[in-house]
Every structure is written in C-alpha cells, then in structure tokens.
C-alpha cells in the first residue's frame, strides 16, 4: 500500500497528490512515469512523475479527472492509500546542455514538463517555457514553471490570463523572429503536440514529445501502447514515452486512445446510476 501524504486541488478537476514511495523516489528521473491501481478491482493507469523528493521518499502525481479511474482517485484523501504503484517506468529524458530549449506544456501536460524543464535549467540551458490552458482557472504550476525558466509565456484560449491563443503562437513568433532554438520539448493533448510538430518540422528544429497511449502493464508485455514512429511500431512504455515528434503518427495515436471511449460510456453509464457525468 502506498500512502497519500498530501492532497491539493490545483484547478477544477486537476489534483496533486504526494504519495509515499521511497524506492521510486530514490530511482526516478524526469520523463518517467508510474502505473497505479487503486484497489483490487481497479484498472492500471499510467501517470507521470511530476516531481519527487528523494529525502522524504515521496513522488508527486498531478492528474486530471477525465474518467472512471481518475475520478475514483480524485475522491481519495490524505491518509488514504493506493493498492499498487509500480515504477519508475519508461526511459528518462535525455538531459544535456543543448543551448536554448523551449519547453511547452498544454493543460495537464504542464505537470510532466516541469521536472524536465528544471533539469534542462540545471544542465545550463537557456529555458523558455510556454504553458497554456483553456482558461486562467485551469492553468497549473505557473509559479513552479517561472522558477525554473529564464522566460515564461502563458497562453489561454479565452485570453483570461496571459496571451489569448494557443501555445504554438508564441513558438511560431520566436521562429519567425529568427531565434536560434536548439530543442523543443512539448507535452500536452495529442492535438497540441501534433501542431507543435507541424510548426517546427519545416525549420528542422529537433522536437520531442511525450506520448500517452492506453497502457496495461507498462513493461513491454502487452503491446497495447504501440505507436507508429518513423513507420515502425514502438511500445511507448519501454521505448518511450518520449519520441521524435517529426516521426510520430499522431492520428493513429489519437484513434487508438479512443478505443474504449464508447465502451466505457455504454457499459458503465448505460443505466445512468454512476456519478461520472460522461
């Protein structure tokens, strides 16, 4: 059992948990994730390690309540425990001094970007971060991102905070202004990552994205997380989750993410007895 030692509401439907997991906290690196199972009947779901405290032996998970399991998780409180937690899984981010790195986080994607941006900064890079959300209420980790970035740009779809527009707009401007960009790291909804890739591709700017296909085991055993990268199937849980954005088949990924969408709806919510509001 893994104790929840802290719970915080970051924005409506977005929660932060600190979970006691000393072994994972000792080993994990930016870019890695865990898979958890709340209870005996639960499903295994992957969540990125958004932060870690090696001394305290805790890891931070930040998640959005989107469906059954994340809602069930959100209903837990400090003092409750999670049955299973395995990790760190996936390959760690390749951290080096590249020069100027743009870190882009969209929505809940800011959470996984944060430890990566911090590591880039510590490695001596100039870090420019662009974080975006639909509106000001949904924006997370602004202070934290500001602390690890040389420059922080905020965008909201409705203009309620920062610039009105999408995260790709400031990126496009920097490119158009002729800024030398050595690396772009983008994590967020698949549509966002796809548009970032579209923006950087014509300029040959090396771009990395972190993919979130549906997973089961997270150890390379089931192949459910396969995505086509450079026309070859890769298992995101062991070969990734980070890949060269210009090689990823984003449309295929989006289609596969919807695999259980209707099934969850009809089977679970058919009677309308559950409270999941889908």
């Amino acid at each position: 059992m893994y104790d929840i030692v802290k719970k915080e509401v970051l924005s409506p439907g977005v929660l932060l948990f600190d979970v006691a997991a000393p072994l994972i906290a000792k080993k994990c690196q930016p870019g890695q994730f865990v898979i958890l199972r709340i209870d005996e009947d639960g499903e295994r779901i992957p969540l990125t390690i958004a932060d870690f405290d090696r001394e305290a032996g805790t890891i931070t998970l930040i998640f959005q309540e989107v469906g059954h399991t994340t809602r069930q998780l959100g209903a837990l409180n400090k003092g409750d425990a999670i049955l299973d937690l395995v990790g760190p899984l996936g390959k760690e981010t390749h951290i080096d001094n590249f020069g100027t790195v743009i870190c882009i986080g969209g929505g809940i994607g800011v959470a996984p970007v944060y430890p990566i941006a911090r590591a880039y900064k510590q490695a001596g890079n100039k870090v420019i971060s662009i974080i975006g959300a639909r509106n000001a209420d949904l924006l997370i980790l602004e202070k934290e991102m500001a602390a690890v970035s040389d420059e922080l740009i905020i965008t909201t779809d409705d203009g309620s905070k920062g610039r009105k527009g999408l995260v790709i707009h400031p990126l496009q401007e920097m490119i158009d202004a002729g800024m030398k960009i050595d690396l772009v790291m983008a994590i967020g909804p698949v549509i966002m990552m796809r548009s970032v890739a579209d923006v950087t591709r014509p300029h040959n700017i090396h771009t990395i994205v972190s993919l979130n296909p549906i997973m089961v085991d997270g150890t390379g055993m089931c192949g459910g997380c396969r995505v086509s990268v450079g026309n070859k199937n890769k298992f995101a849980c062991v070969d990734g989750p980070e890949f060269d954005a210009h090689q990823v088949d984003f449309n295929g990924l989006m289609a596969r993410q919807r695999m259980y969408h209707d099934h969850e709806k009809t089977e679970r919510c058919g009677g309308g007895s559950c409270k999941c509001n889908k």
Partner: protein, 465 residues
C-alpha cells in the same frame, strides 16, 4: 484391466462456452482410486524420465490407490511446488504419460489427472505442507519474475534454508499462470493458493518491482546483499505480423487480450475497471495453446463467431490435442491453410475485416514441416470486428539491457548452461527467458536445476572466503 483412462468429468460444451468456470471438473475419489489401480507399479518407472521435476510417480499413485491421499501429496510436493497447476496444464501426453508402459497397448495412466486429484484434495482440506526449514540461514538469493521458473527456484532454495526475495513486475505473482492461461483452464484462486504455500515457506514476494528499473541486477548483487540472482522473466514480448492495419482499434496481441481478461478480470467489467472489446466476430491468428486460449476466451466474452486463422494444416498445429478438441466442441471455426494479408478498417479506425490468402503445402522447410505457400489470387475477406495476434512471443529485453556482462543469443534469449549458469558470475537463468516460449513444467525443471546450482555456487563462495 481397463485399457483407457477414466474419463475426466467436464462441463458440457454448450454450457461452458459461455462461462469462465473451469472446464475439467476433476476426478471423484472413487474414480481416482480406480485410475490409480491401472498403474502397474513398474520397477523401472519409465514414466519418471518424462517428468522434468522427477516426481516419484508410481509411489504417489500407489498412495492414491491405498486411499492415503496425504502421503500422495507429500510425495508429489517433495519434488513439485505447484502440483495443482501441473496436474491441469502440463502437456502430459508429451511428458510423463508419453513414457507410461500402459500407453503401449492402450491409454497411459492418467498421471496428470491423479496429480491434480491429490493437489485438490489437499487444498480442499486446507492442509499445510510438511516442510522443515533449516534454522541456519545459508544465504540470500534474489529471484526475478514470479512465473513457474522463478517460483520453483524460490521454493527449492527456501526449503534448503535460503532467504529468498522474488521481484515481480506485475501486481500479482504467477507469471503466465496469472495473466495468460485462462480461468476456465486454471482457476486463479488455485494459482494463488499454491503461491500462498510458498510464502509459508518464508519466500518473500515483492510485487510491483521491475528489475532493470526498480533495481538493476548489479545493484541487487553489490548493494542489496544478495549472494546470487536467478532470472526467470519469461517470454513476454508479443510479436506482431507487420501487416497493414495492425494498429487499428480492435487488434490485440494475445498477451494484451488475455491479460485484460485474466489478470484484470475484464469479463466482469464494469464491476472491475478494465474493459475489453470483442464484438460479434473475432479472428485469432495462430494455432498454439495461446491461440486456443484466446479463441475460447472470445467465445466466453460473447462473440458469436470465432475463427482460428492458421497458415498450415491441422497436423502442424502446435496446440495440445485436448485444447484443440475443446475449442472445436465449443464451436470455434478453423480456417486452415489461410494466412492474413491485411486488417481492414472502417472510416473511424475500427477493424471491420481481415483479408486472407489461401495457402497450400509445399516442400518441407528446415523444421521438417511442409512449408505453406500462398495461392495467387485466392484472397478473401473474413468479416470480423476483433483480431487477436497469437503468433508467438519473444524475450523482454529489460533485464538484459541493464545487465552488463550477461550474454544473450541472436534472438535475445539469455544464454545459460544446463544447470542455469549464465556468462555473469552469480547470475543464473531459466525458463522461457532462456529457451523461448515453452511449457510450465520445463520452466519448473529449469528452476529446480538452477536452485541446486545456486546452492553449490553460494556455498563454494562462502567456503572460499
């Protein structure tokens, strides 16, 4: 003397094809004793050479005949930590029973069925194993993977007096026994009870521990104080065919399909959290045990039509005969000498069919089997909503990639000798990770040999010090 085995009571095909309860119901005591009476108690016991864990077969059968079931299970457990499992899933026809004298004229003695009987008897009675664990601790051994290979090594070493920690990546120990072989062939409560018996021997099982990530082998040896490591990580890497349409929604590897249903209990969704989708018709590609298990699982999930698509003929099918018969009785349809060419999808990215081509058998290939060759222009489409790829598994590279000095062959399997020693000092391996996908009992046999070798290694090291 009766020339045929006593029949195994079974759930009727019509009924069982829609439920997940066990198909074979097990002998009653009376039948077991009658079957045991068929054994000739051969002095040379040829049956024993077919058992990789060397159970004293005539002896345990004699105890059953005499009605002393406690003595029977003690005799079995002296060699086999998982008798309730082996009695059910061992391919006995290729192992012990293949060598049985009775098989010369009629059918061999039902050794597996009797083993199952004794094991089930002990479990029903809640009987504790008699095992005297030496007081002195001989050393500390880490076992990677809680499949049959790892569990056997762990049990044997614990009995000798070692402190054993098993590290398992998933949330439940058992390996393929838990995630692969379906409930209706091997109830999961039975697997867990056999594992509980191992825990009683003092074996510590750490789940949610992925070696290569949580710890490396070198860390286990150099920092965590283990005297030796046994690797039994199995053949868990699913193969795909590399044909167009394989990433459509509705295409599963057998591993994913079976894991969702067995380990995650998707057949109880939404009471359980993990969904699985079968649709009305399913094509399973392949014809081994894994394919039969997938096809029969699909039926039980409510599919109306389930096809086995296999490029060779029935003769070459690698599945156990019994499983093949069960699948046929339950209504699985066989499309033999048929190979998939591509999976077809609808405009929403869902499987709507599988295009196949007919094959005919040509010249024998290196394996001696006649090689199937496609018949030009014979393409046709099977309308299915789900495709399960059951064409084999390879070794998962996680441990090998993080363990310098560990030799692997060109297929990625760890190289180990008969006794389980690898190229790296203090590291031993056995089971599917060494041999490629094989059987439960071969993995257990390898685990047993490795346990003996590990004991020798650790004691030599200690006296040398």
């Amino acid at each position: 003397m009766q020339q045929v085995k006593h029949k195994m009571p079974e759930q009727a095909a019509e009924e069982r094809r829609r439920n997940f309860n066990e198909v074979a119901l097990g002998y009653e005591a009376e039948t077991a004793r009658a079957e045991a009476a068929r054994c000739l108690q051969c002095k040379t016991a040829p049956c024993r050479q077919g058992c990789p864990v060397e159970i004293d077969i005539p002896q345990f059968i004699k105890h059953i005949k005499d009605g002393d079931y406690d003595a029977a299970i003690d005799e079995i457990k002296a060699k086999n930590n998982l008798p309730a499992v082996c009695g059910r899933v061992c391919p006995q026809e290729d192992q012990c029973e293949k060598f049985c004298i009775m098989g010369k004229k009629g059918e061999p003695v039902g050794i597996g069925r009797l083993e199952r009987f004794a094991a089930d008897y002990a479990m029903a009675k809640g009987r504790e194993d008699k095992a005297e664990i030496p007081a002195e601790v001989l050393g500390k051994v880490a076992v990677i993977g809680a499949g049959p290979a790892g569990l056997t090594t762990a049990g044997d070493l614990a009995r000798m007096g070692y402190k054993v920690t098993v590290f398992e990546a998933l949330h439940a120990p058992g390996g393929v026994l838990m995630y692969g072989i379906p409930e209706f062939r091997l109830p999961k409560t039975i697997v867990q009870q056999e594992i509980a018996a191992l825990r009683k021997l003092g074996v510590d099982i750490q789940v949610n521990a992925v070696i290569g990530k949580s710890y490396t082998i070198d860390e286990l040896l150099n920092e965590e104080g283990f005297d030796a490591v046994f690797i039994g990580t199995g053949a868990g890497l699913p193969h795909f065919m590399d044909i167009p349409g394989e990433n459509l929604n509705g295409v599963y590897s057998a591993n994913e399909f079976l894991t969702r249903v067995n380990l995650m209990k998707a057949y109880k969704f939404p009471q359980t959290g993990t969904p699985v989708r079968v649709g009305r018709s399913v094509a399973v590609v392949g014809a081994g045990n894994v394919a039969m298990d997938s096809a029969r699982t699909a039926l039980r999930l409510g599919a109306e039509k389930v096809y086995i698509v296999y490029r060779r003929s029935e003769e070459e099918m690698p599945a156990r005969h019994e499983e093949l018969e069960h699948a046929k009785e339950e209504g699985v349809e066989f499309r033999l000498l048929t190979a998939p060419v591509q999976v077809l999808g609808d405009d929403k990215g869902w499987v709507k069919g599988i295009e196949c081509i007919r094959m005919e058998l040509g010249e024998p290939d290196e394996s001696g089997r006649r090689k199937p060759v496609p018949v030009e222009g014979s393409n046709f489409v099977l309308d299915v909503e789900t495709v399960v790829m059951a064409i084999g598994q390879g070794p998962n590279p996680l441990v090998q990639n993080t363990t310098p000095g560990l030799s692997v062959n060109k297929r990625g399997n760890i190289v180990a000798d008969e006794a389980g020693a690898t190229s790296k000092e203090g590291v031993f391996a056995g089971g599917d990770i060494v041999t490629g996908a094989a059987t439960v009992i071969l993995a257990m046999g390898a685990g047993k040999k490795a346990a003996a070798k590990i004991h020798e290694y650790v004691q030599n090291k200690k006296t040398a010090r």
